[in-house]
């Protein structure tokens, strides 16, 4: 009986620690990188570390710069807002990115994220710019 209780407690504890996306409270939460309050539902981003702690960002460029300064093995989840579905957090590593001089983002990188590559290319055809994948955009922001 005791053994089972212990096991149940461990499972519960582990579940509590598993990294999960945390909803961003717009207008309340502060960017972990630049201290601005997060208001833009099309450009916010979030990092969740392996202990389940969430770091929230007002712009994708802030998240990438923050991630570039820290050890990548600490982070379990990279999340970004889908430009076409405001407020929706999607997996950053599988998203497509667009840098377009006609779409301003909060920290001046003109960077937006899209769930699907076709969507990014549609907006690119409309507004101009350059399309990247996750690795590409991280490399670009490092420069």
């Amino acid at each position: 009986m005791r053994k089972w209780l212990f096991a149940a407690a461990m499972v519960w504890l582990l579940a509590a620690c598993s990294p999960k996306p945390k909803p961003i409270q717009y207008g309340v939460d502060l960017c972990a990188f630049c201290h601005m309050s997060i208001v833009d539902r099309q450009h916010a981003a979030e990092l969740v570390n392996t202990k389940g702690k969430a770091f929230k960002f007002d712009a994708i460029e802030c998240m990438i710069q923050y991630a570039n300064l820290h050890d990548s093995k600490d982070f379990a989840l990279y999340l970004v807002n889908d430009y076409l579905a405001p407020g929706q957090l999607i997996d950053a590593t599988a998203s497509t990115y667009l840098i377009s001089p006609n779409i301003p983002s909060p920290m001046g990188a003109f960077l937006s994220a899209f769930d699907r590559r076709e969507n990014a290319e549609d907006i690119q055809a409309e507004q101009g710019g350059e399309v990247f994948d996750w690795e590409g955009i991280r490399e670009r922001m490092r420069r």
């Binding site: 717009y26 201290h35 309050s37 301003p104 001046g108």
Partner: protein, 412 residues
């Protein structure tokens, strides 16, 4: 004789000018019933005068030099989907309108009045109610936005745009506006050599005024009250900040003034009252602070990461919970001749300057920087004891952060 001739010519020119510029009247019984039709029919240089009344109109394109004048606040009512006035020509003047129900969208930044690639515009004495963006100035310069009232309905939700939004521009003057309930009251990105003066900006979700990547600007004599945070100046150079009031920016994320990555700024004669943090600076370099008053703030000044050459001269630090937090090892910031209400030194030679230096960083603020939760111990006997012993023989607090000539009396 010569003078008379000149007068004659001047009068003649004035009369000729009157004949040239026609006035198109718009009202229910007037030749024109629709503002848009009158604007389309007008010739460059004409005046379109709109009489009191309600006009359900949107997407009015002003693509020629024109005066659009409302008398007795006619209401232009949009359809919740489109923008109302779009100015794309130089030398346009819009005054005396109330604008309602401009388009709102999560995907497109829509404004009640948009100025696109235009110069020499004047937007004056309008009321803009519940717009997403109020006045959006894109790639526009040499313009005046004066005496407008912009009322948004944003409370905690972020579903609002900025009241006055400048994106790429030069020589803008934004003066004497009243702004309430938007995301940022005034937002300027890539806007140079501009002036923000005499505005009141309050109850905005994020900032009363916000500079990004803008240089050589100044803001003077404004009031920023009860915003998410007062003013943010980021990634900008040579900004002058004078005679503003930063009041009641309370909350865990609230600052009176947030400076990040800025260079060569002057901060003079401002009042910081009842803010969680008066000034928060990170990466702020070559900044001079003179004759500012910090009163009843949680922290008067918080410095983190890489702040060099910040010089505080003749400021008043009055009854703040903590005057200063410095969270960096390298320190060449100076404090001279300030008045600190916390100062407990003496002045034996009566020259008005304290004989012992004042060290504004307390041990407790050092502890707080390490673990913010310890704020619950504030005002406890234990902390008073710690602060006192640190003051007697400093061990942890930075030695070089000190005012060697503290003023004995409040600077007026």
């Amino acid at each position: 004789m010569y003078q008379k001739l000149m007068w004659g010519i001047a009068l003649g020119l004035a009369w000729w000018g009157r004949v040239q510029a026609a006035t198109l009247e718009v009202c229910a019984q007037c030749p024109w019933q629709s503002v848009r039709q009158a604007v389309e029919a007008a010739a460059p240089g004409d005046v379109v005068r709109v009489r009191p009344g309600g006009y359900k109109e949107h997407s009015i394109q002003i693509n020629k030099k024109l005066v659009l004048q409302g008398t007795g606040f006619p209401v232009l009512e949009g359809n919740d989907l489109e923008e109302i006035l779009i100015i794309t020509a130089d030398s346009v003047r819009v005054e005396g309108f109330e604008l309602r129900r401009a388009g709102k969208s999560q995907l497109k930044d829509q404004a009640a009045i948009r100025v696109r690639k235009a110069r020499y515009f004047v937007i004056q004495q309008n009321r803009i109610v519940d717009a997403y963006f109020g006045i959006y100035l894109e790639h526009s310069s040499h313009g005046l936005v004066e005496g407008n009232v912009l009322l948004g309905t944003a409370t905690h939700e972020a579903s609002a745009g900025n009241a006055i939004h400048g994106w790429y521009g030069r020589h803008l003057e934004i003066s004497s506006n009243y702004i309430k309930g938007h995301r940022d009251g005034v937002y300027l990105e890539f806007v140079d050599s501009s002036l923000v003066v005499n505005n009141i900006s309050e109850y905005n979700v994020r900032y009363g005024l916000h500079y990004m990547f803008s240089n050589d600007d100044q803001y003077v004599c404004n009031v920023f009250r009860s915003n998410g945070a007062g003013v943010a100046v980021m990634f900008s150079k040579r900004i002058q900040m004078r005679e503003n009031r930063f009041e009641r920016n309370w909350g865990t994320t609230a600052y009176g003034l947030l400076l990040k990555e800025i260079y060569d700024a002057d901060i003079q004669d401002n009042h910081f009252l009842y803010n969680t943090v008066g000034i928060f600076l990170e990466g702020a370099t070559r900044i001079s602070y003179q004759r500012n008053e910090f009163q009843y703030n949680g922290w008067a000044v918080q410095m983190t990461g890489g702040c060099l050459d910040n010089h505080f001269t003749r400021n008043n630090f009055l009854a703040n919970t903590l005057d200063l937090v410095v969270n960096s090892r390298v320190n060449n910031n100076t404090f001279n001749g300030n008045y600190w209400s916390e100062y407990t030194g003496y002045d034996l030679n009566r020259d008005g300057t304290g004989d012992v230096p004042h060290r504004p960083v307390k041990l407790f603020s050092y502890i707080l920087a390490q673990s913010p939760e310890s704020i619950v111990l504030l005002r406890s006997f234990f902390i008073d004891l710690l602060n006192f012993s640190e003051k007697v023989s400093p061990a942890l607090t930075p030695q070089d952060v000190a005012d060697y000539s503290p003023s004995m009396s409040k600077i007026s």
